[in-house]
């Protein structure tokens, strides 16, 4: 065994870390603690509570988890449920599933179709938020929308996507928007597998599906976990759906990030908004910890 000695002494190493730690402290730790503090008050933007916020203990959190009207539209439970559907639908099934499907379908293939598809998928990923949001509104609009124009030409009737299926609309939007990341991650993971893995499986008699299930999936497991960590967190926190449905109609596509925004910056109830933000942080933390411990167990198993 080669003993690896650190290049720098611990003291010097710490010195190099200091600037980064300073930024983390100023821009992450301090605001988090501040939000935590605000969440325990009744602070608002205007009125008396703006000048003299009162310490209210856990009242804001109690209001959030008030189970009497928890699932009513416009309340936190509704936003949380929407967020769960949104994450499962657009991140886990949509982005990860579709990304893996595309990466697998074009694994070790070259050609125009692959290039065209990859370019389109990546394009959907790199266009700025506001531009894609406008594109999707224009695409899904009831009267002038491209999709309805196509549907009515095919005599399938018009659908008012943003009014009748707002949650589905943002799920499909976010899938389209973010599949590129998973696709790229999975295709580079697949590219690292020796071609002989699949060839050996084929000669040994494994069908394409068996080889995928028994060889490919286990071989890229850690990539899949990493991908799921990242896209779950991103999707849970993304705010772009607001640009398409505004969380509506009647809060039917309101996810937690939009709910937070509404309470804090439309109702100007900073105390309650901060409480939602704290809950979001905790959820993020739990998700990250679950994934990271899975990843660590994976590393130990190898």
């Amino acid at each position: 065994m080669v003993q690896r000695r650190p290049i720098l002494s611990p003291a010097v190493g710490m010195l190099f870390l200091l600037p980064a730690l300073g930024f983390v402290l100023v821009f992450l730790v301090f605001p988090s603690l501040w939000v935590l503090q605000i969440s325990l008050t009744n602070q608002t933007l205007t009125g008396e509570a703006a000048l003299r916020p009162q310490f209210v203990g856990l009242a804001n959190f109690q209001a959030l988890f008030d189970f009497e009207n928890w699932m009513i539209r416009g309340y936190f439970g509704n936003a949380l449920r929407n967020a769960v559907f949104f994450v499962i639908g657009s991140a886990l099934i949509g982005q990860a599933g579709l990304g893996l499907a595309i990466a697998w379908a074009f694994h070790r293939r070259r050609g125009l179709l692959r290039e065209a598809l990859y370019t389109l998928v990546i394009l959907a990923w790199i266009i700025p938020d506001v531009v894609v949001a406008f594109m999707w509104v224009a695409y899904l609009d009831r009267d002038q929308g491209t999709l309805n124009a196509i549907l009515s030409t095919l005599r399938l009737g018009r659908v008012d996507w943003l009014i009748d299926h707002p949650l589905l609309s943002i799920i499909i939007f976010n899938t389209w928007r973010g599949t590129a990341f998973s696709m790229l991650l999975f295709s580079s993971a697949l590219a690292t597998l020796p071609p002989s893995y699949l060839e050996a499986a084929a000669v040994a008699g494994a069908s394409a599906w068996q080889a995928f299930r028994d060889i490919i999936l286990p071989s890229i497991r850690s990539h899949i976990i990493t991908d799921l960590v990242l896209i779950t967190l991103w999707t849970f926190n993304t705010f772009t759906p607001y640009l398409i449905t505004g969380g509506g109609p009647t809060f039917r596509s309101e996810v937690v990030s939009i709910y937070t925004f509404r309470i804090a910056f439309q109702h100007f109830e900073f105390g309650r908004g901060a409480a939602v933000a704290v809950v979001m942080m905790v959820i993020n933390l739990i998700l990250a910890l679950i994934y990271l411990s899975t990843l660590r167990r994976e590393a130990v198993a190898r």
Binding site: S196, E199, A200, V203, A204, G205, I215, R221
Partner: protein, 361 residues
């Protein structure tokens, strides 16, 4: 167990012809080696038999069944890859049992059969490990076990020994040969190592640039290579080729530096095969050459270029004009560097190739 027949097999990748019009029949139970330099099409041929490549033209039979258009899954052959292709996330047991698992054998049956082949291959105590914890030789055995476990019609080996170190390779070589002989499964073995092909195979097919140049037993190919390519590919060091010109009247071969070798009894045959003054290649194996005390009708004057003692024998390279010639000598006092020596060419063992490389006599 089956015969394998390839008929007019051709495979092109774009403008590149990888396998060119290859017809070959491999007998039931035969150990057949495909030998050639890298890029000669031997691996492509193997992959065509396995079904990993589709032929551009031609037909493939395994047993009585035509498999040309069948996918690898339906061909019932087993292949051992150069990198073994053992799955790192499975134990050795799971790796070996995988072909049975995809065939939906009951778990107990899989375990019984895996233990059986593992016994044969002497890896029974490694079944719970993962491939990453095995040595190269053990991995190779595990890969062979995975091929063996479902009793395929044929074995296909793609340079399975090239990742082993020299000592292990010799061991694995005799092991493979013993195994193949005791199982009697038709085997195609691809290698670029002529010694490996000679040692293992019942018959060898030598390939170059997509073409099958010669098929024969190791000794046939060693003794009568069909052309200069095969002659110089087989043997270590390979056959010496000396550029000469045939002089019909004197029945001699003239070297470029003016030295001449008397053809003796073979002069008549050469007169029938070659025109007067025709250039040709004289081919002699290094072990057939010897040193002489002084000049003689079949002796060539040369200067010692290098002396390499190998224990059993000494490898001596001499230089005549600009050509280097290798001799394998078993003598206690080899010549010294730069010394002038006489090399005796045994005409009765010599081969004569035409200028284009084809064997004439």
């Amino acid at each position: 167990m089956a015969r394998i027949r390839l008929e007019e097999l051709r495979k092109t990748f774009g403008p590149v012809v990888a396998v060119d019009d290859l017809t070959l029949s491999i007998e039931d139970g035969e150990f057949f080696a495909l030998l050639g330099p890298s890029g000669c099409g031997k691996t492509t041929t193997l992959r065509l038999v396995a079904g990993l490549e589709r032929p551009t033209h031609g037909r493939i039979f395994i047993g009585e069944r035509e498999v040309t258009d069948l996918p690898p899954q339906a061909r019932d052959v087993a292949m051992v890859f150069q990198d073994y292709a053992l799955y790192p996330h499975m134990t050795v047991m799971e790796n070996i049992g995988y072909p049975l698992r995809v065939r939906r054998y009951p778990r107990a049956e899989i375990e019984r059969r895996v233990r059986e082949v593992a016994e044969v291959l002497q890896i029974a105590d490694l079944l719970d490990r993962r491939p990453g914890q095995l040595s190269g030789g053990q991995q190779q055995r595990a890969a062979v076990a995975r091929a063996l476990v479902y009793q395929p019609q044929a074995f296909l080996f793609d340079e399975p020994l090239s990742n082993l170190d020299a000592k292990l390779r010799l061991e694995a070589r005799s092991f493979l040969k013993h195994l193949q002989k005791s199982l009697g499964i038709t085997t195609i073995y691809v290698t670029h190592d002529q010694a490996e092909a000679m040692a293992l195979a019942d018959r060898i097919g030598v390939m170059d640039r997509g073409r099958l140049l010669q098929v024969g037993t190791p000794l046939e190919i060693y003794r009568r290579p069909r052309n200069t390519f095969v002659a110089t590919f087989i043997g270590s060091p390979p056959m010496n080729l000396i550029r000469c010109r045939f002089h019909s009247a004197e029945a001699v071969l003239a070297l470029e530096d003016g030295q001449a070798i008397a053809l003796g009894e073979r002069g008549e045959a050469l007169r029938r095969a070659f025109r007067d003054g025709e250039p040709l290649w004289l081919g002699v194996r290094p072990e057939h050459l010897s040193l002489a005390e002084g000049p003689g009708p079949t002796h060539l004057s040369a200067r010692v270029y290098a002396v390499e003692p190998l224990g059993v024998e000494t490898l001596v390279t001499v230089q005549i004009n600009n050509e280097r010639i290798a001799l394998r000598l078993s003598m206690d006092e080899p010549p010294v560097l730069r010394e002038q020596v006489w090399v005796r060419v045994p005409m009765e063992r010599a081969l004569f190739f035409r200028e284009n490389g084809e064997l004439a006599l």
